[in-house]
C-alpha cells in the first residue's frame, strides 16, 4: 500500500522496525501531510501525481507511494521519455527529491529538458520574496480607509495553496527555468561513471543492476526515506526515474538475443526494487524497451513484478499515421496492469481502447473515438465507385459509367 498516512508521524519505538513497510492501514491519528500527495478515496493509500492528470485518473487517482510504474516504450522512445520528464517535473514542482538513473543520456541532460510548469499558482522559491510584515502602519498610502479593521492582518501567502494542489500542467515548448529546477534535490546514477567490478557470485543480477540497487538503497538510507527511520524533520517523497532498463547499454542482453544469458537479471532487479520501495517513501517509474524483447513470457513476468504497467504505441512511422481514423491522436495506450494493494478489488479502467495525444499544454489520454462518417458525398462516391466497378465488370454491354449511386 502506499505510505502510511498515519504511522509516519509516530515514533518508531512504538512499533518494531521489522513490521513497518510502506503499507499500513490508516488509523485515526493525526494526519501527516507531505506536499504533493493526497490519500486515495478508495482505500486511503498515499498517492502522488505522475505529472499527467489523465494518467493519474487511469491509475486510480495517482501513483501509490511504494509502487513501481512500468512504461513500455514506444518505438522511438519519444512519448515514454516525455512521460518520464513529466514525472520528474512534477517532482520538482512538488519539492520532492529526485533520483534519475540512465545508461545512455547523462541524467543532467534529462533534467535540463524538463517541461516548464504553467505558473498560475506555483510559488517559485525566491529567497528575496519575503512576506511583508504587518508592522508597517506608517505607510499611509497603503492605509485602508474603509476596511480599516483588516489593516493589521498579515498579508496572504500563496505558497500554501500551490503545495496542496495535486497535479500540474506543463508547457512542453519551454524548458523549466534553472532556478526552479535547482530548488529540487537530485541524485544521479549515470552508468558509465560507475565502473563495473566483476562479481564472483552466481547471482542472476548483473553488475550494473546491482550497483544501481545499491546506490538507490544508499540514497534512501542517507536521506531518510525509510519508513522505519525516525527523522525529526518533515517527510518527503523520493521520485525514482529509471530509463530504458533492459536495453543493451545497461549490459543486459535481454533485448539483443532470443535466448539471453542473463534472462533473469531484470526480473531479479525489479524484485529488489519492489522490496526497497515497499519499505520507503518512494515511487518509481521504469521505462523498458519492450518492443526489443522477443520473449513474451519474460515480458509477462516483468509486468507482473511491477505494480502498474502501461504500454505506449505511437503512430509515428507506421501506416496509421496517415490513417484518417487516427488523425486526432498520436498513439494508443494500453493499460496492462493496475495494482490492488491492501484491498481485494482493483480499479480497472472502464475502457480498454485508449489513445493519447500530446498537445503543447497537456498530454491527454482519452477513449479512442471513431468519428462518425457524416460526409455523405465522400462515403457514397466511394461505395458507388466500388459498386459501379463490379457492375461494369459483370454486366456485359451496359454502357453506364457507374458513378451514379442510383442507377436505373
Amino acid at each position: 500500500m502506499a505510505a502510511p498516512v498515519d504511522g509516519v508521524g509516530k515514533p518508531s519505538a512504538e512499533r518494531s522496525p521489522f513490521n513497518s513497510t510502506s503499507f499500513q492501514k490508516k488509523t485515526r491519528s493525526k494526519l501527516i501531510s507531505i506536499p504533493g500527495t493526497r490519500p486515495s478515496v478508495q482505500n486511503g493509500q498515499l498517492l502522488v501525481s505522475t505529472g499527467v492528470t489523465s494518467l493519474d485518473y487511469l491509475l486510480g487517482g495517482g501513483l501509490a507511494v511504494g509502487t513501481v510504474l512500468l512504461i513500455e516504450e514506444d518505438r522511438y522512445d519519444s512519448y515514454s521519455r516525455m512521460i518520464l520528464k513529466y514525472f520528474l517535473a512534477e517532482g520538482v514542482v512538488c519539492r520532492h527529491e529526485l533520483f534519475v538513473a540512465a545508461a545512455q543520456d547523462n541524467p543532467d541532460d534529462i533534467l535540463q529538458e524538463l517541461p516548464a510548469p504553467i505558473l498560475d499558482d506555483v510559488a517559485i522559491h525566491k529567497p528575496v520574496d519575503q512576506p511583508r510584515l504587518s508592522c508597517e502602519p506608517q505607510d499611509s498610502l497603503d492605509a485602508m480607509k474603509i476596511a480599516w479593521r483588516y489593516q493589521n492582518l498579515p498579508k496572504v501567502q500563496s505558497a500554501l495553496a500551490s503545495t496542496s494542489r495535486f497535479g500540474h500542467y506543463y508547457d512542453v515548448s519551454k524548458t523549466m527555468e534553472p532556478e526552479i529546477r535547482q530548488a529540487a534535490k537530485c541524485h544521479h546514477f549515470y552508468l558509465p561513471e560507475h565502473p563495473t567490478q566483476s562479481s564472483t557470485t552466481h547471482s542472476p543480477m548483473i553488475e550494473s543492476y546491482s550497483a544501481l540497487l545499491k546506490s538507490l538503497q544508499e540514497v534512501i538510507h542517507r536521506e531518510g526515506f525509510d519508513i522505519a527511520a525516525s527523522m525529526p524533520k518533515s517527510r518527503n517523497i523520493l521520485r525514482v526515474g529509471l530509463q530504458s532498463l533492459g536495453s543493451a547499454l545497461w549490459g543486459d542482453d535481454l533485448s539483443c538475443h532470443d535466448n539471453p544469458r542473463h534472462s533473469h537479471a531484470l526480473t531479479t532487479f525489479l524484485y529488489g526494487l519492489r522490496a526497497l520501495l515497499r519499505s520507503s517513501l518512494a515511487v518509481a517509474v521504469v521505462t523498458v524497451p519492450s518492443h526489443l524483447i522477443q520473449d513474451r513470457a519474460l515480458m509477462g513476468s516483468i509486468t507482473r513484478l511491477c505494480d502498474n504497467a502501461i504500454a505506449l504505441e505511437s503512430f509515428k512511422g507506421s501506416e496509421r499515421e496517415t490513417n484518417p481514423l487516427y488523425k486526432d491522436y498520436h498513439g494508443l495506450l494500453h493499460v496492462h496492469q493496475v495494482p490492488h494493494l491492501n484491498c481485494l478489488a482493483s480499479q480497472l479502467p472502464d475502457h480498454k481502447d485508449l489513445a493519447f495525444k500530446l498537445k503543447r499544454k497537456q498530454f491527454t489520454i482519452e477513449r479512442l473515438h471513431l468519428p462518425p462518417d457524416l460526409s455523405e458525398t465522400v462515403s457514397r462516391v466511394s461505395r458507388g465507385e466500388l459498386a459501379g466497378a463490379t457492375m461494369v465488370a459483370s454486366a456485359c454491354g451496359s454502357g453506364t459509367s457507374g458513378t451514379k449511386h442510383l442507377d436505373f
Partner: protein
C-alpha cells in the same frame, strides 16, 4: 473466507478434507483473492499455517485479512502463523551488507541453480516445531502450507524442475506425513497453451503441479472479452483418489471480486446481467 466458495468446495472451517494439495492457477488474470480466502479459512479452522509471501509485503496481507475478519498480527504472535516475507528477506541478499544476518530460506537468490533446498528446510522446520510436543501452548490443527506465488521463483531464475522438486518434497511432508493441506498459486501468461518451445518454464510448471495436486481452481478472463461486472471465470476440478477410483469432476463459475469478498455464480446468472 468466502462463504459461496465454501459451499462450492463443500468445506467449512470445522470439517475439510485433510491431505489435500490445492492448486490455484491463473492465466492473464489475478487469482490472489483465492489465496486470501484460503488464508483466512485455515486460520479460522485453527490450523497451524506456514505462509510464504513471496510477492507482497506482510501489511498487504494484514490489511486484506482484516477485512475478511482475521487478524494476522495476532495469529503471528500466538504462533499460529509463520510468515516468510520474501521481499524483506531478499534485500539483505540482493544487496550484500556486512554483519547482516539473513534468513537462510531465501538463499536461492544467491545462486538459483542450487535449488530450493534451503526454502524446503525452512518450511519443514516451521511446521515440524509444533509436533515436537510443546506443552502449555495451544494445540493447533493440521499444518497448512500456503505459497503466494510460486511463479515469482521462476522469475528469479530458479528452474521449473527445481520448483517441481520443491513442491513434491513439500507435498510429501505436509500432505502425507503431517496430514495437512497445501495451497499454491501459480501464474501463467500465454494466450494458448500450445507453444511449449518458448514458455517451457511456466507451462511446464503448471502441468507438473496439476499432475501432483488433488484440486485445481483455474482462474481466467471471460472468453467473450472484458467486462466490468464479471471479473472472470473459475474452473474447479476435483481429482478424487480415494475408494472408487480416480474420477475427475469439473465445475465452471463466474465471479466478481468486491471489497469484502468475492461472489460466485453460475455462468450467465450475474446480477448485472439478469
Amino acid at each position: 473466507m468466502f462463504t459461496e466458495l465454501n459451499s462450492i468446495l463443500n468445506s467449512t472451517p470445522d470439517s475439510f478434507t485433510k491431505g489435500e494439495f490445492i492448486l490455484v492457477s491463473d492465466r492473464q488474470s489475478d487469482a490472489s483473492f483465492l489465496i486470501h480466502h484460503f488464508l483466512s479459512f485455515y486460520l479460522r479452522a485453527q490450523c497451524k499455517v506456514c505462509f510464504l509471501g513471496l510477492g507482497q509485503s506482510f501489511s498487504h496481507y494484514c490489511a486484506i485479512s482484516q477485512r475478511l475478519g482475521v487478524s494476522l498480527a495476532q495469529a503471528k504472535e500466538k504462533g499460529q502463523l509463520i510468515f516468510l516475507e520474501g521481499l524483506k528477506e531478499s534485500l539483505s541478499i540482493l544487496i550484500p551488507q556486512e554483519g547482516h544476518t539473513e534468513n537462510q530460506a531465501m538463499d536461492f537468490l544467491r545462486d538459483p541453480t542450487v535449488g530450493l533446498r534451503s526454502l524446503y528446510k525452512f518450511v519443514q522446520s516451521s511446521l515440524n516445531s509444533s509436533s515436537s510436543g510443546e506443552d502449555g501452548t495451544e494445540e493447533w490443527g493440521p499444518s497448512v502450507l500456503l505459497v503466494d506465488d510460486i511463479s515469482v521463483l521462476l522469475s528469479l531464475g530458479v528452474s521449473a524442475r527445481a520448483v517441481l522438486d520443491f513442491s513434491h518434497y513439500c507435498k510429501a511432508t505436509v500432505c502425507s506425513q503431517l496430514q495437512g493441506n497445501m495451497v499454491m498459486l501459480v501464474r501463467c501468461d500465454g494466450e494458448d497453451e500450445g507453444d511449449d518451445g518458448d514458455d517451457e518454464g511456466s507451462e511446464l510448471l503448471l502441468r507438473g503441479l496439476t499432475h501432483q495436486c488433488s484440486l485445481t481452481l483455474h482462474v481466467q478472463g471471460l472468453p467473450t472479452g472484458y467486462c466490468r461486472d464479471i471479473h472472470g471465470q473459475v474452473e474447479v476440478c476435483w481429482r478424487r483418489r480415494q475408494g472408487d477410483g480416480q474420477h475427475t469432476q469439473k465445475k465452471l463459475f463466474q465471479y466478481k471480486v468486491n471489497d469484502k469478498g468475492a461472489s460466485f455464480f453460475a455462468r450467465g446468472t450475474s446480477s448485472a446481467v439478469l
